[in-house]
């Protein structure tokens, strides 16, 4: 019990004193996660929009598949990306294994289904009358899509935040692709899983608190948007 309490006290100390290692890990985590979320959004929202607007055979099955991939196991993505970017893989020439770039790639793949799926659901949540209304007021196809996205914006924010949340909290891809290299690919989750095993509790707890804090901030932001 004492050990946990000590760990907690030391962890708070680490945070309050802005311990360089804690800060560097946190910043690296945010950098990687923000980048993968940004790339994910740029790919997934247009794809989601396209799937919503186009009618084609197999649309239902595709949406079902995307929703199934919400729970894509992180280690599976890790394995897939590993096979892709390892020296023997088709993308081996880019030397992405054990780099932040590789991690970003993996996390992006991981969150694409969530953002795409929630974009589609969000757009379906907009009343069909809105589409007719925009068209009847003279909107072009592109303007109509823009209007519908605006109507669905809170659902889209939620999709982005959910994607970010999944990326920041996953450990499979980060560990398998990043390799937890100190000062380079070491992020909050990889540090916590490895340092805990080594008995370095205060660092793990400090990072855990920070991770929780980030989640809290995300949720506050989400609530703020939803109240608007």
């Amino acid at each position: 019990m004492n050990e946990i309490l000590n760990g907690l006290i030391q962890a708070i100390e680490l945070i309050v004193k802005c311990d360089p290692e804690v800060m560097s890990i946190t910043l690296r985590t945010l950098e990687i996660t923000f980048t993968s979320t940004l790339i994910g959004v740029l790919i997934a929202i247009p794809i989601g929009g396209l799937i919503y607007f186009k009618n084609f055979t197999g649309k239902r099955s595709l949406v079902n598949l995307i929703q199934t991939l919400y729970s894509l196991p992180t280690v599976l993505v890790g394995l897939l990306v590993f096979l892709l970017i390892s020296n023997e893989g088709p993308l081996g020439n880019f030397q992405l294994l054990f780099t932040p770039g590789g991690m970003i790639q993996g996390q992006t793949i991981l969150i694409l289904p969530i953002i795409t799926g929630f974009t589609i659901t969000g757009l379906y949540g907009v009343k069909s009358e809105i589409k007719d209304l925009a068209l009847s007021l003279g909107a072009s196809d592109f303007q109509t899509i823009h209007t519908l996205m605006k109507e669905a914006k809170y659902a889209l924010y939620a999709a982005v935040i959910l994607g970010f949340g999944r990326a920041i909290s996953e450990v499979g891809v980060a560990l398998m692709i990043g390799g937890n290299i100190r000062g380079f690919t070491r992020v909050i989750t990889t540090t916590m899983s490895l340092e805990t095993a080594k008995g370095n509790l205060e660092l793990s707890i400090a990072l855990g608190i920070i991770l929780l804090g980030i989640s809290l901030l995300i949720n506050l932001a989400l609530n703020h948007f939803q109240e608007k």
Partner: protein, 354 residues
């Protein structure tokens, strides 16, 4: 002459023909009422005219240009139209943002249009509503916003799909007033679906009665006075519709044989027909009188009902005829159940249709 021409429109839904062979020509600045029962295809027709929905067959021409499948032509055509849907809908945001939508879509500077928006809101009884959240308004207010939103772009064609269905009396009045104002300017073509006959009569130059196909089209009074078929007659509430067999007996005179009675008409239609006579074209007396009109039928009062201004009296002359009497006439003639009375009406008042 700029006009809207709708040619041979058909629309299939799940193998069912919702619209069949619709042909309409609507001249600039006139108003056309599309009237019919629920599910008759009114909304579908309006949506096709606005090109939100495509017909299964048929074409639309505006100012002699075919509104083809080209996206740009359709969009440019649509930009000349303002549409108000039956169900009030608004975009998220303020009233002002809603009204400005059509302008922004067209790339029009919204600063210069502020006075016009203000004026429009004022005449719709929504003065000072600009910055309210549109989604918090009542159905009637929302529908008035919808009208303002359609009007701010100064459409050449205004399409209204039952704009006052299920609205409060104040909103209905404001919307009808506005439509009438636009109509008086003779600049905007109005196409309006309604199932309210009185509204159609008041606001439209012409009325088309629709039930999947056009049953009759014409000036409101023509439709009310001379329905061309049994569907229109029943739909517009024509009274005294009776089935019979017509035969020409003179140049300008046809005899319609109905089981126990004969009715003369000036119509030239022969064979199995329906005849109708408007209650207000029937006069009554307690004794047989020599009259210029040819129809003189004797019967007895089968029932009567006080409906406010008038008393509705059913008279059995072999067939049941409904007539409306003023209270005064009713009491002056001392009418009661089983009273023996005579009905007189002119042959030219009898409407005959197949």
């Amino acid at each position: 002459m700029s006009e809207l021409k709708i040619e041979n429109i058909n629309k299939l839904y799940d193998g069912k023909l919702i619209l069949e062979d619709i042909n309409l020509i609507i001249k600039k600045g006139t108003s056309l009422g599309i009237i019919g029962p629920t599910g008759c295809g009114k909304t579908t027709l309006l949506r096709i005219v606005d090109q939100i929905e495509m017909p299964s067959q048929g074409k639309i021409y505006y100012n002699n240009i075919e509104i083809s499948k080209s996206k740009n032509i359709i969009r440019d055509y649509r930009r000349k139209i303002g549409m108000v849907f039956q169900k009030p809908v608004v975009f998220k945001g303020t009233v002002l943002e809603n009204i400005e939508y059509g302008l922004k879509i067209r790339g029009i500077d919204t600063n210069s249009t502020q006075p016009k928006i203000k004026e429009l809101l004022r005449s719709l009884g929504l003065e000072g509503y600009e910055h309210r959240k549109a989604s918090t308004l009542s159905g009637g207010e929302t529908q008035r916003i919808a009208l303002a939103r359609a009007l701010i772009i100064e459409p050449e064609i205004l399409i209204l799909d039952e704009p006052t269905a299920n609205l409060d009396p104040l909103s209905t009045e404001k919307i009808e007033y506005m439509i009438d104002e636009i109509r008086k300017k003779n600049k905007t073509t109005i196409i309006m679906a309604t199932h309210n006959l009185i509204q159609g009569q008041c606001l439209c130059d012409e009325i088309a009665i629709i039930n999947n196909r056009i049953q009759q089209i014409g000036k409101p009074e023509e439709i009310f006075r001379k329905p061309e078929n049994i569907f229109v007659a029943e739909f517009v509430g024509t009274k005294n519709i009776i089935k019979g067999n017509a035969q020409k007996i003179e140049d300008n005179l046809t005899l319609i044989r109905i089981e126990d009675i004969n009715v003369y008409s000036t119509s030239s239609i022969e064979g199995n027909v329906y005849m109708s006579i408007r209650p207000e074209d029937i006069t009554i007396s307690r004794s047989k009188t020599i009259i210029t009109g040819l129809n003189n039928l004797n019967g007895y009062v089968k029932g009567f009902l006080d409906i406010g201004t008038f008393i509705k009296v059913d008279v059995d002359v072999g067939e049941i005829f409904t007539i409306y009497l003023t209270r005064k006439t009713f009491f002056d003639l001392q009418i009661s159940l089983e009273s023996n009375i005579w009905l007189q009406f002119k042959a030219s008042s009898v409407n005959v249709f197949k």
